[in-house]
Subunit: 178 residues, 2 copies
């Protein structure tokens, strides 16, 4: 289980300083994601996601189950490596999956013990911090994550449960409304 | 495009002798396939297929489009390598795909110019020969394939268009009827 919380970053320099003082820098990545809708299920309603990702490590196909906790983005995640991005996309399209949206990000990954910290810059959205723990124990993992979030100056109640994809689709929707 | 015909083999020794005299042995493989039904489309009607395969080279995910020729098994095929068989199966099941059936085969592959010859032994079904050419020119490919089939003693009209999966499902169905 991936226990995960996300916060919007207003002062990137300040946050990056705090993170680099309390956690170890791991790697910088550029990720390009394509999300799909199901041919006969509304993922917006079932709260699932299907994604193919392209990054410097290669390509992956990931299924995300519905979120199972109110305060966090915790959910089941099943990920497999694939050897061809375009062909996987083509298989999904032929099966009736429709492209829902695309997310392009620069991600700086830090580690503090079990906690993975992602300092993200998302095209069209701006900067965010995601804190993650892989764990079988939801409550313990949440406690650790929210303790560290507080140390960075984030309030638990400002945690964002929406995915980047949902936020991008919101922006697109709001732009259409105007 | 994969232009492909299949024939049932009654005398395996005789056919293997003829093939080994006219083509070059490439490799012997053991393949284990799991086929899926679509969550909201009847693949038996649309003549599509979705398969994950385990063999000595690793794992693949393959989509097969509907057959596009009356006499052969010619169809679009999109194949990607995957790094985990069970997790890919789990993703498909979570997306609502249902296991349709399993095919286990021993395959001896020979080559004669462009023609790939597969001498297959299929669990529950017996022995078959498949002749394949990868080609953009259907008619030319068919001509080459049927010429060689005739040389091996197979009559074009005895070509089998059913997949091994369909044949295995037929056997299961007939056993239930009895």
């Amino acid at each position: 289980m991936e226990v995960e919380v996300k916060f919007r970053v207003t002062d990137l320099e300040e946050i990056e300083r705090k993170i680099s003082e309390t956690a170890e820098f791991v790697v910088e990545k550029f990720e390009y994601d394509v999300y799909f809708n199901h041919p006969c299920r509304n993922f917006a309603e079932t709260d699932e996601a299907l994604r193919i990702r392209k990054d410097s490590d290669g390509f992956t196909l990931t299924y995300k189950g519905a979120k199972i906790d109110y305060e966090t983005k915790t959910r089941d995640e099943i990920k497999v490596g694939i050897d061809d991005f375009e062909k996987t996309k083509e298989i999904l399209v032929r099966l009736g999956f429709r492209v829902a949206g695309r997310v392009a990000k620069r991600r700086r990954i830090y580690r503090r013990g079990e906690i993975i910290i992602c300092l993200d810059w998302i095209e069209e959205l701006g900067s965010f911090v995601e804190l993650e723990i892989e764990s079988g124990n939801l409550n313990e993992a949440k406690k650790k994550i929210f303790e560290y979030a507080e140390m960075l100056g984030f309030e638990a109640e400002k945690s964002i449960r929406k995915s980047y994809l949902e936020m991008i689709l919101d922006v697109a929707h709001n732009n259409r409304e105007r």
